[in-house]
């Protein structure tokens, strides 16, 4: 029991994710600033922002559905934190695992988007409503390629369990290179999921103020930001576990160091892309995702099937 509580609240649960999310946000903001020729914030800025937001008044509009408006940020945060327990961090074994946990992680990562949609929709603001609709529209564009690219990697390993998947690639070193196209697809889909430029369409500042976040303030807004950060960590960790499953059998410490390294590389790629690109329109985004990204994901799945059928048997 004590161990379970430790896992949930300390490591790798809430406290660890809290620290990591501030760290990741700082690295993201600092790197983004340096790429833009700015100085960037000091290391404690994300923490300072969080504390400041917690101290601010929460304003809820008269027309908003108070319960849904208040609960949704916490639902998003909980879903993202829960998903983290199924991802192997320092070895080939996650804290909890069963056959099918890969699907559960993907499902749990969809929940934040859905809860933001509901929160935005029930805040009854024009900007929130448009942002919420866009978030959902975007969901249909990136979710399929993300699932397909992860599926390709799982097909090669022949398992639906993340822990077994890492064990498989650990036993077959070098095979992860086969999934690099899938990684590119998943990275693009992750940009859509995390709503980063060029896919920050649901919260496009100059068009719809802050999208579904427009009416959120104070501690509720702080929790949404936290949920988004945790989603970023979990998403990057999932990509690291599925597409870079190496260096996990050389002890927990080295394995954990490798995990952090992989996380930082994926994060840096996301930051680089968001600094170098302009925001697309929703119609362009959907067209891009279905026309090119999904095709690429299908190609990866078919290549995996052929590879498996011809060589593995």
């Amino acid at each position: 029991m004590a161990q379970i509580l430790f896992h949930i609240f300390i490591f790798p649960g809430i406290l660890f994710l809290l620290v990591m999310s501030f760290l990741i946000e700082f690295i993201d903001r600092k790197l983004h600033a340096r790429l833009q020729n700015r100085v960037g914030p000091p290391w404690f800025q994300p923490l300072a922002d969080f504390i400041k937001l917690l101290g601010k008044e929460v304003v809820i509009t008269d027309e908003a559905d108070v319960t849904i408006f208040r609960v949704m940020p916490l639902v998003a945060l909980t879903a993202a934190v829960t998903a983290f327990f199924y991802i192997p961090l320092w070895g080939t074994e996650a804290i909890y695992s069963f056959n099918g946990d890969l699907i559960v992680v993907l499902y749990l990562l969809t929940l934040p988007t859905l809860s933001f949609f509901l929160g935005g929709w029930y805040s009854r603001s024009v900007y929130s409503a448009i942002g919420a609709t866009r978030a959902l529209t975007q969901l249909f564009a990136y979710e399929v390629p993300l699932l397909l690219s992860v599926l390709a990697s799982a097909l090669l390993a022949g398992t639906w369990s993340l822990s077994e998947l890492t064990r498989f690639y650990d036993a077959h070193p070098g095979w992860w290179l086969f999934n690099l196209v899938g990684f590119v697809v998943a990275l693009i889909a992750l940009l859509g999921k995390l709503e980063k430029v060029p896919f920050d369409i649901p919260e496009a500042e100059t068009e719809i103020v802050a999208g579904y976040l427009t009416e959120y303030s104070g501690s509720l807004y702080a929790f949404i930001r936290l949920a988004l950060n945790v989603e970023m960590i979990v998403g990057s960790a999932l990509l690291a576990a599925v597409f870079f499953p190496w260096g996990l059998s050389c002890g927990p410490l080295a394995g954990f160091a490798f995990f952090i390294l992989k996380l930082l590389v994926i994060m840096a790629l996301i930051t680089l892309l968001r600094s170098a690109l302009a925001r697309l329109r929703i119609d362009q985004m959907i067209q891009f995702c279905w026309k090119y990204v999904s095709t690429l994901a299908f190609a990866q799945v078919i290549a995996t099937l052929i590879f498996k059928g011809v060589f593995v048997k």
């Binding site: 833009q36 900007y127 448009i130 500042e205 068009e207 302009a278 925001r279 929703i282 362009q284």
Partner: protein, 404 residues
């Protein structure tokens, strides 16, 4: 679909707008089905205030119409006054005015490029162009003493001369900014997401541009080769060699290209001005009282044709000053450009005319019942303002300022 249309207010306060203006968009899904534009949130009564001040005071007031094209407004005003007074401005003063005018165009167009980047979510471009713009502002501060409201114009000439060391400095910085501009031209022709967001957006055909009276880069990007600098040369543009840049793209991308090419022309103009700078005095003595008469002055501001009308009555104060800022001429086209576009295109379409609402806002009282219109005099306007606030419980006349 039309049953589900909602009204999205862009403004008066909105992140896409740098100044207050109201755009009410009827949106069906992501498509815009109707637009109504409302101006006047930034009315400051400058025209009326000019009538209560002397010509010299007016220069500084007029300069503050706009924080970007301040030199444009003050030069346009001064040209009109000089024409009424029959002053012959020395050529060296005209060249210095031209130099400041082109430097102003540089920083204004670089500013626009950054704002355009921001509107389409490309903040890196904003940071880069504004860094380069900074060196132009420093240069203006070096020449005139100020970064924004230069205060270099005076009736009959300019207030400061420039020396060869400053000219050398100008040429050095212009070279550096030219390198950066070439980089942005490359970027605009190569970066895919940028092109995707700009081309085909905010279409304005040549016929529509002419019919709706578009001016400046907005008109030139629709293939209308209109430029006051060439069509009706003022200050020293008649003696300089430059092209009028146009584009047949007729969209926001065309407007970007036109502005970038104009930057290249400005570099060439600045070099010519520095090379040809004549010797002589920089101002002539101007009379305090201007004889009765009226004049209309045209000026190609970075945003388009700026028109000033001045009527003098023989005293030291103008009887009437009228300003038509370029944004007012371009706003009619915005409604046309927004037709049937996506909501996501709104910020960049509005930004593409490089709007400057505080320059534009003028007031006229319209009585809807009788349909009559009339202006308000300065005292009346002031009284109206005081009473409006008093009715809401704020009495500004009773505020005592605690001065040290």
């Amino acid at each position: 679909m039309s049953d589900h249309s909602i009204t999205v207010p862009i403004g008066p306060q909105h992140p896409a707008l740098k100044e207050p203006a109201g755009f009410m968009l009827q949106v069906s899904g992501e498509k815009i089905t109707g637009v109504s534009i409302r101006l006047g949130y930034n009315h400051r009564g400058i025209e009326k205030a000019c009538e209560d001040r002397s010509y010299i005071q007016d220069i500084y007031l007029i300069e503050r119409i706009c924080g970007i094209c301040s030199h444009s407004h003050s030069t346009a005003f001064i040209q009109a006054v000089e024409e009424i007074a029959g002053l012959q401005v020395p050529p060296r003063a005209q060249y210095i005015r031209t130099l400041v005018a082109e430097l102003e165009r540089l920083h204004s167009h670089l500013l626009w490029l950054g704002v355009a980047g921001h509107e389409i979510g490309f903040d890196t471009l904003l940071m880069y162009t504004w860094r380069d713009r900074e060196s132009v502002l420093d240069l203006l501060a070096d020449l005139t003493g100020n970064r924004v409201n230069y205060g270099i114009n005076t009736i009959g000439g300019v207030r400061r001369d420039i020396d060869p060391a400053k000219i050398e400095n100008i040429l050095k910085i212009v070279d550096a900014v030219e390198e950066r501009t070439k980089y942005y031209i490359n970027l605009a022709t190569e970066e895919t997401t940028l092109i995707q967001r700009l081309s085909g957006v905010g279409a304005l055909s040549k016929e529509d541009a002419l019919r709706l009276g578009a001016v400046g880069p907005t008109a030139r990007a629709s293939g209308v080769a209109r430029d006051v600098r060439r069509d009706d040369p003022y200050i020293s543009y008649g003696e300089l060699d430059f092209k009028v840049c146009t584009s047949d793209q007729c969209d926001v991308y065309g407007r970007t290209v036109v502005r970038l090419l104009e930057l290249m022309e400005s570099f060439s103009i600045i070099r010519q001005v520095c090379a040809k700078m004549p010797d002589g005095p920089v101002s002539v003595k101007a009379p305090r009282k201007v004889p009765a008469g009226e004049a209309l002055s045209r000026y190609e501001a970075p945003r388009g044709e700026d028109v000033h009308y001045v009527r003098a009555n023989g005293t030291d104060r103008p009887e009437r000053v009228k300003v038509r800022a370029p944004t007012l001429a371009n706003l009619q086209s915005v409604a046309k450009m927004l037709e049937d576009r996506y909501l996501a295109d709104t910020p960049i379409i509005i930004a593409a005319i490089d709007p400057c609402f505080s320059c534009t806002d003028r007031m006229i009282v319209t009585d809807e019942r009788s349909g009559s219109t009339r202006g308000m005099c300065w005292d009346e306007l002031r009284r109206h303002g005081i009473e409006w606030y008093r009715a809401r419980g704020i009495d500004t006349t009773r505020i005592k300022l605690a001065l040290p």
